[in-house]
């Protein structure tokens, strides 16, 4: 009964499309209902891991077999998908009026959900490929339906990278199919294990390429910024929260279920880790540093958070690559937590954009007085992102640090620490410029967002703190996953996790923080209040300052810090790719000049010459 997770959203998609033409809120409502239904029925099949389904299709004389099965891993991802889509759909019910193509948005959104479900339950390459492509295409339409001019270009870049990677996937899969005669995972894994190691590694790298792209790991991260920054504001949380994570799902499948780690087990190692795995972890470290530095320089809030997403992906890939029990658990924890707090951030920003209509940070300010709940959601989320207890972000990072220090990977740990500290720098920038500071005159009349937008943010705040105190809830499913994949499980209880050098007990920490919070609240309530004065009520040496904006600086917020990295950032990877393309085109141009100098008859001459040569060869042979 796994096909219903695909076909219910698909059927609902068209219903939503038609009904949305009548009523602008119908589409998002249907999306929310379908997501809730999916969430509910997924909860009901929790634990029945033997569930599987296959159906045959006869196409032009070929028998195609589609295999689907439920594993703890796919269950977790499916739950995350439906949960986040539920929240986003509820959030977007009221903002549909902003949309020019809201019917198409809901159609594609439901199709994305359905195709992600298809990817997650697929047990053979063909099914995986079909739904993967469907997901790519539908999300391509979603990204390109963004309001900005750049949206189409960003989506195009995303599509080109995804398509190129998908072709490499397809080629490797067809090669394997030729050898084994089946598309299913198990015979493929068996074949790859018994094959010569270099070839297997190459095949698996080709298979994993689309997942690297989707996860946005360092050399392939170039699509992430523009896609996130230009996607519709309701889709950005899903894009950053879920779509990137599907890449990690694919990577875990390749690494464990297709036995990539078993194949490279006996290759050259560095500190007990196969060199290739270490390389992946290193890529993660580079991703963290790149994403962090570039995020600090951003002026657009959505692009800033997009870079932050890139850097957080680095943590996840490090943990997955080193594949120790702690590392894997940390990665999965961080994966979930990142999904939660990043969606919160994007939803808070979406609320800001919904009210102000701009994504430039220096065009807004002082919204704390007008949108306090949004501010609270954003604040909680960035505390989690920066990894400060008692939020969930701290725990996952803590577990990853433990895993890195346990094995002594110094550089990786350094990158992780750097990313964690510097992350507060870049998330503080929107906090300071958007919510604090001076309220712009044109935003005086702004109100807090409607109730339906508040609810998802409130839920997410609650979840952040809940998982910050009780990580055992997450560890339950993670231990099942690691058991399923053959990784040792970490000792844990409801509120504590056993690390390499000691246990983490979040209940103590939470109590300490709660006590501190209560004390601070008491001080705030009892002590003398600070007096709010108007910004212009100040002495300025006899000059009158009439422009409030002069006191609120938000543009180039971290200029002194940026200056340190100016040279480095000038050599960005996007620029490198662009130079590469330009040089390639130039060399092609010069090649063309030699052979196609613009004389029409030369072309005729070439073709006749070719014909003569072919005929001569045929005659001689």
């Amino acid at each position: 009964m796994l096909t219903k997770y695909i076909f219910v959203p698909a059927a609902a998609a068209f219903a939503a499309y038609i009904l949305n033409k009548k009523n602008k809120k119908a589409g998002a409502t249907i999306t929310a209902l379908v997501s809730a239904y999916l969430l509910l029925s997924l909860a009901l099949i929790y634990g029945s891991w033997e569930l599987n389904q296959s159906f045959n299709l006869s196409l032009m004389g070929y028998q195609l077999e589609f295999l689907m099965a439920l594993t703890p891993l796919s269950w977790l991802f499916a739950v995350l998908t439906s949960a986040i889509s539920l929240l986003i759909a509820v959030f977007s019910i009221d903002s549909q009026a902003d949309f020019k193509f809201s019917s198409v948005f809901n159609l594609n959104f439901l199709l994305v959900i359905g195709s992600i479900m298809g990817v997650l339950f697929a047990r053979d390459f063909l099914t995986l490929f079909i739904f993967w492509e469907l997901m790519t295409w539908t999300s391509f339409y979603l990204i390109s339906s963004g309001k900005k001019k750049m949206a189409g270009r960003a989506a195009y870049r995303y599509l080109i990278l995804s398509a190129a990677a998908a072709y490499s996937f397809l080629m490797a899969v067809i090669f394997i199919f030729q050898q084994t005669g089946s598309f299913a995972f198990e015979p493929a894994a068996e074949f790859l294990l018994n094959n010569s190691a270099p070839q297997s590694i190459l095949l698996l790298l080709a298979i994993s390429l689309p997942f690297w792209v989707k996860a946005g790991i360092f050399p392939l991260h170039v699509w992430v910024k523009d896609a996130h920054g230009n996607a519709p504001k309701e889709f950005s949380p899903f894009l950053s929260g879920m779509l990137l994570k599907v890449g990690f799902y694919g990577l875990i499948v390749v690494f464990h279920q297709l036995s990539f780690f078993k194949i490279i087990e006996n290759t050259i190692a560095y500190r007990g880790l196969p060199l290739l795995s270490y390389l992946f972890a290193l890529l993660g470290a580079v991703t963290i540093i790149t994403g962090t530095i570039l995020a600090i320089r951003q002026e657009d809030m959505k692009k800033l958070i997009a870079y932050s997403s890139i850097s957080q992906m680095g943590y996840i890939i490090i943990g997955i690559a080193i594949a120790t029990p702690l590392g894997f658990s940390g990665s999965m924890l961080h994966l979930m937590n990142h999904l939660i707090f990043k969606s919160t951030i994007f939803l808070a920003l979406a609320a800001v954009i919904y009210r102000t209509g701009t994504t430039k940070m220096y065009e807004v300010g002082g919204l704390i007085f007008r949108m306090p709940l949004t501010f609270a959601a954003y604040l909680t989320a960035i505390i989690a992102l920066a990894g400060i207890p008692p939020t969930n972000g701290f725990i996952s990072k803590w577990v990853i640090y433990q895993a890195l220090i346990e094995k002594g990977y110094l550089f990786l740990a350094l990158a992780a620490f750097f990313g964690s500290i510097a992350s507060f720098m870049y998330v503080f920038k929107p906090l300071s410029t958007v919510f604090l500071g001076q309220l712009k005159p044109q935003h005086q009349e702004i109100k807090e967002v409607p109730l339906l937008m508040k609810i998802p943010m409130l839920i997410l705040i609650g979840v952040i703190v809940l998982f910050g105190v009780f990580p055992g809830i997450q560890m339950n499913i993670i231990s099942q996953i690691s058991g399923d994949l053959g990784i040792e499980t970490v000792n844990y209880s409801l509120y504590s996790i056993q690390g390499a050098f000691g246990a983490w007990n979040s209940l103590y920490i939470f109590n300490v923080f709660a006590a501190g919070f209560v004390i601070a609240l008491l001080v705030f309530g009892l002590a003398k209040k600070s007096k709010l004065v108007g910004l212009l009520d100040t002495y300025s040496s006899g000059e009158y300052v009439t422009d409030a904006e002069s006191y609120h600086y938000a543009y180039q917020y971290y200029r002194p810090f940026d200056r340190l990295f100016d040279n480095l950032a000038a050599k960005s990877l996007t620029g490198f790719y662009e130079t590469l393309t330009a040089n390639l085109l130039k060399s092609g141009e010069s090649f063309r000049r030699i052979f196609a100098a613009g004389r029409v008859q030369n072309y005729a001459l070439y073709s006749v010459l070719l014909f003569v040569i072919l005929a001569a060869v045929g005659w001689i042979i």
């Binding site: 001459l605 006749v608 010459l609 014909f611 003569v612 005929a615 001569a616 005659w619």
Partner: protein, 253 residues
């Protein structure tokens, strides 16, 4: 001689040598080769079936003015190939012709050009009068050629070309003579539609496109050969209109 011509000559000569080789080589056993000149073995070619007017490979004898109700009633075998056995092919070919004519119209873009007539005002009286006399005769000759296409050499293509030539001469000699675009379009599309309509009628009544659905009559009589004369008339009008259109476009460009 320039260097470039020399290269062209050398390449052409090499090509020619290789192709000529195919005619002089002695074939190995069982190898399909070109015949020697004049030694084509009709009995082993598809043409034999068409000559016997029976694609069922039974060797029927067809006698002029006697045989009745044959598969294809045309006395001219080339006609029965063009307009009956391979008439779908012919439909495609007149489509190509139509596309070429349309392409010329598009390329020359008549709206923008200055509509300068080719014929000078002072075309001589002799030419003018001669063509005035010749014009109906040419039309008649063209009509004869395509109406008798199934009995004697000739047919739609030739007849259409003769008619187009008649109009060409008229256009060259007479400055005031003008064919309206709409009449050409009308003739052409009517002819095309009737060709396809004949085919569709065959499809509906006999089960295959362009199949003969009329009695074929006696070989050698004017009213015989089923739909072949009809198809050839359609082809003649279409080819005539298209060639006229091409010529008209070139003249008025």
């Amino acid at each position: 001689m320039k260097f470039r011509n020399l290269i062209a000559l050398v390449i052409t000569a090499a090509f020619a040598l290789i192709i000529l080789q195919a005619f002089t080589i002695t074939p190995a056993a069982g190898e399909i080769t070109l015949n020697e000149f004049g030694k084509a073995d009709i009995n082993n070619r598809t043409a034999q079936l068409y000559l016997n007017k029976s694609v069922n490979t039974d060797n029927k004898k067809v006698i002029y003015q006697e045989s009745k109700n044959l598969e294809s009633g045309s006395a001219n075998i080339v006609t029965s190939v063009v307009a009956n056995y391979r008439s779908f092919d012919t439909l495609g070919e007149i489509t190509v012709l139509f596309l070429a004519a349309a392409g010329i119209g598009v390329v020359l873009n008549l709206e923008n050009s200055k509509k300068k007539k080719f014929a000078a005002d002072d075309s001589s009286l002799i030419l003018n009068t001669g063509i005035k006399l010749l014009f109906p005769l040419l039309l008649l000759a063209g009509t004869y050629i395509f109406v008798y296409g199934h009995l004697s050499p000739g047919g739609g293509f030739q007849g259409g070309a003769v008619i187009a030539t008649a109009f060409l001469l008229k256009m060259l000699s007479d400055n005031k003579f003008e064919i309206k675009e709409i009449s050409i379009t009308l003739v052409e599309s009517t002819a095309g539609i009737s060709f396809v309509g004949l085919g569709l009628y065959g499809l509906v009544t006999r089960g295959s496109f362009l199949e003969n659905f009329m009695a074929t009559g006696t070989v050698g009589q004017l009213f015989s050969a089923g739909i072949i004369p009809l198809i050839y008339i359609a082809i003649a009008f279409k080819v005539g209109a298209e060639l006229t259109n091409i010529v008209k476009n070139l003249i008025e460009a």
